[in-house]
């Protein structure tokens, strides 16, 4: 199975460990992973700001890099959703194929690889931050507003990790306030929303805030560091890829 890895721009630049963990995890699970070297961004920063028309070149570059793969996998629900909904490169056929074959990581592990067990260990209390685009857009988990059976693809995977326990939050799917350019255009609300999410995790004694979108985690991490909080953020790829024995151990 030939899988192309899409690493969103801010992960490439600031959180390479998340991309490394994603790559290692996919390889561990038997995928042949290709990393197209000229990839940049999904175009969401422009589009969500109202400048969808300026993301055309970005779209074309994306299509050039990702056409012709069986699957495209990304450690970001938000960027994946954006491609699924808004990728319209000049090559229409290739764009359609990409839109239909791009998966967020936990979605890919659950629905395509049908992972039932993982050899991973992370003996910590974690709080799961359900990022909105992954949850409400890609339906990675049931939404608290709907009268429907609960499920969570991300939580199911985390439960396969030895030693990990998930805390119950007061508001299990409230937005953290990142919101792309919202985080600077509406700074006051953005930060307040982030602080309130962090408090929910702190109150339930989580050691880590775990999520499937680094953008949300980066926003909350920025606030936590400023607060001097001892809580840390981790992307699910880093946890699902945590070795049973620590690296360099035994």
């Amino acid at each position: 199975m030939k899988v192309a890895l899409f690493v969103p721009c801010y992960i490439d630049q600031f959180y390479p460990n998340v991309a490394i963990a994603t790559l290692e995890l996919l390889e561990k699970l038997g995928c042949e992973v290709v990393y197209p070297l000229n990839q940049t961004c999904c175009g969401q920063p422009m589009a969500n700001s109202g400048f969808e028309h300026l993301s055309k070149d970005c779209d074309n570059n994306f299509v050039d890099n990702f056409k012709g793969f069986d699957y495209i996998v990304s450690p970001s629900g938000s960027c994946t959703l954006h491609i699924k909904q808004h990728l319209h490169g000049a090559d229409n056929q290739a764009s359609t194929h990409i839109r239909q074959h791009i998966y967020e990581l936990s979605e890919f592990l659950t629905d395509v690889l049908k992972v039932e067990k993982l050899e991973a260990k992370f003996p910590h209390r974690v709080g799961l931050h359900q990022s909105c685009h992954g949850q409400r857009g890609l339906k990675l988990a049931q939404m608290s507003e709907l009268v429907a059976e609960p499920f969570s693809k991300t939580e199911r995977l985390l439960n396969m990790v030895e030693g990990l326990s998930i805390v119950t939050l007061d508001r299990k799917d409230e937005c953290c306030g990142f919101g792309g350019t919202f985080c600077v255009l509406e700074e006051a609300i953005s930060v307040k929303m982030g602080k309130d999410r962090i408090t929910d995790h702190t109150k339930h004694e989580a050691e880590f805030i775990v999520g499937s979108d680094v953008s949300c985690l980066m926003h909350m991490e920025g606030i936590m560091k400023r607060q001097g909080s001892s809580m840390k953020v981790k992307h699910i790829a880093e946890i699902l890829n945590s070795p049973l024995t620590p690296r360099g151990g035994i």
Binding site: C9, I11, D12, Q13, F14, Y15, P16, I20, L23, Y35, L37, N38, T40, C41, G43, P45, M46, A47, N48, S49, G50, F51, E52, H53, L54, D57, C58, N61, C132, H133, R136, G137, M143, S144, E145, L146, V147, R171, E174, C175, G177, G179, G180, F182, V184, E186, E187, A188, I189, S190, V191, K192, M193, G194, D196, H219, G222, I223, K225, R226
Partner: protein, 478 residues
């Protein structure tokens, strides 16, 4: 043009008092939680939403026929129907009905030198129950200038009216106020004891004050929740019974409605009345759902049907279904931004996510900030009882507002340069490398107050290499 503070600035002010923001957030989250409890008792809730949505879609596609049918039936029932193209016409129609009803012709009285005539002279007085349409049309201000004394009879509306503030929420108009604020307002306007905060005492004072109003006003205005084409009747939902108290004792009943309030049949109330109160407050049904069909003997009944931009919105394929809204405010209660910015930050009659997709239709320049006052989290669309795709419309309004030139030049330039960096692999990699180098070696470039991110958040740690650099290096080893 009315001056206003944009949403981001107003929210910054609102957030100066963090304890108050916490209280506001918790209060509205409590309403959202009540809604959850109520709807989870209905196994068929999602089907009910779908039914509500489809009925409304059908109405939007057959608006003309249903409005004509409604007018015909209502007229047969003895109700006078008025059509208003815009807010001004609506206000003038209402004023004319009040003036025609007044015991003394107001003409002479109004010719005084005073620019703002004394209120209520010559019997120009009206009691009004809750109607967001009249807020949208700024009816109270209009009538005040004409010398008409209007008393809002919904308790929350009466409180904000005394304070000369607009409602901050479409169902809970005074939700931004605490008991102590109400105590202070009533002390000033109703003569209650200074410092009183006991809700029972304050409510009793309001009740006595309103009772006198109900007994003496000859004209009563109500909103309309649902107008039924099949019967020519309409339904008004309240929890305080104030609409009924007003109209039962008045000689004239004026009901004002946006034309989208129409539903085809009586049986459809079985869908909408179940959806409305559960979504709004978590109640199975509003305490009073009053059905009006014709004037009682000796009474006159008028319905004012208002367009005010609705036809235009109906003609916008991407935004027409915002007209399905039944004004339950569930999207306000669930909105994490609304809960932390307060209704007044939206500077429109209808606040919150639904207001942000309705307002640009009325005035793009004035309301260009509102579709950006959202993280596009999507919770609003999920709670909407008639399944309006609110967050998708917020995204689409952003595109329209940029295309129409309603975005600041600084932002435009910023996004243009971002687009050129992100469209070119080489430019992107160079910029990324340079950015990381600067952040590491000259942190003051980013760690200063000009960087909005940095004001309350640290920058991420700078890794020694990008993923791409790592990948090429590792691959070289193999």
């Amino acid at each position: 043009m009315k001056t206003f503070i944009d949403h981001a600035t107003a929210s910054t002010v609102f957030n100066k008092d963090e304890a108050h923001v916490n209280w506001h957030d918790e209060t509205l989250w409590f309403v959202r939680s009540k809604r959850d409890k109520a709807v989870f008792q209905i196994p068929e809730w999602e089907q009910l939403r779908e039914a509500g949505s489809q009925i409304k879609n059908h109405v939007l596609s057959n608006m003309h026929d249903y409005l004509v049918a409604f007018e015909k039936k209502a007229t047969e029932n003895g109700i006078t129907i008025h059509w208003a193209a815009d807010a001004k016409e609506h206000n003038e129609i209402v004023y004319k009905i009040i003036a025609d009803t007044a015991p003394q012709p107001p003409e002479g009285e109004l010719k005084s030198d005073s620019k703002t005539p004394p209120l209520g002279v010559g019997g120009l007085r009206m009691v009004k129950s809750k109607s967001m349409l009249t807020e949208e049309c700024h009816l109270n201000e209009f009538l005040k200038e004409k010398g008409v004394e209007v008393i809002d009879s919904d308790l929350g509306e009466r409180i904000v009216q005394m304070r000369e503030e607009p409602p901050s929420h479409i169902v809970l108009p005074a939700i931004h106020l605490k008991k102590s604020d109400v105590g202070e307002t009533f002390h000033k306007h109703l003569g209650t004891e200074k410092g009183a905060t006991d809700p029972q005492y304050l409510t009793e004072a309001a009740r006595q004050h309103l009772r006198d109003t109900f007994l003496t006003r000859k004209v009563a205005l109500t909103g309309v929740n649902f107008a039924i084409a099949e019967t020519g009747g309409f339904v008004v939902c309240t929890n305080e019974g104030n609409a009924d108290m007003g109209v039962h004792l008045a000689d004239v009943h004026i009901a004002c409605m946006g034309f989208e309030k129409i539903i085809p049949k009586v049986e459809h109330l079985g869908v909408f009345l179940r959806l409305l109160a559960r979504s709004a407050t978590g109640q199975p049904i509003t305490t009073f759902s009053s059905h009006f069909h014709k004037p009682r003997e000796g009474q006159k009944m008028h319905i004012v049907i208002v367009d005010n931009g609705r036809t235009k919105q109906l003609g916008r394929p991407d935004f027409r279904n915002s007209l399905k809204c039944i004004r339950c405010a569930a999207c306000l209660n669930t909105c994490p931004v609304y809960r932390r910015s307060g209704g007044h930050s939206y500077h429109t009659a209808i606040a919150g996510p639904i207001g942000s997709i309705l307002a640009p239709n009325l005035d793009m320049a004035q309301n260009a900030d509102l579709p950006f006052a959202s993280t596009l989290c999507g919770s609003c669309s999920n709670v909407c009882p008639v399944k309006i795709d609110i967050h998708d419309q917020l995204y689409k309004w952003r595109q329209v507002l940029v295309q129409e030139g309603h975005v600041p030049t600084v932002k435009k330039l910023g996004i243009q340069s971002m687009a050129s960096v992100l469209s070119s692999p080489i430019f992107y990699r160079t910029a990324g490398k340079l950015g990381r180098f600067l952040m590491k070696n000259t942190p003051f470039v980013t760690n200063n107050n000009l960087n909005v991110w940095y004001q309350q958040r640290d920058m991420p740690d700078v890794p020694k290499e990008s993923f791409r650099e790592w990948f090429i290096r590792e691959k070289g080893k193999k």
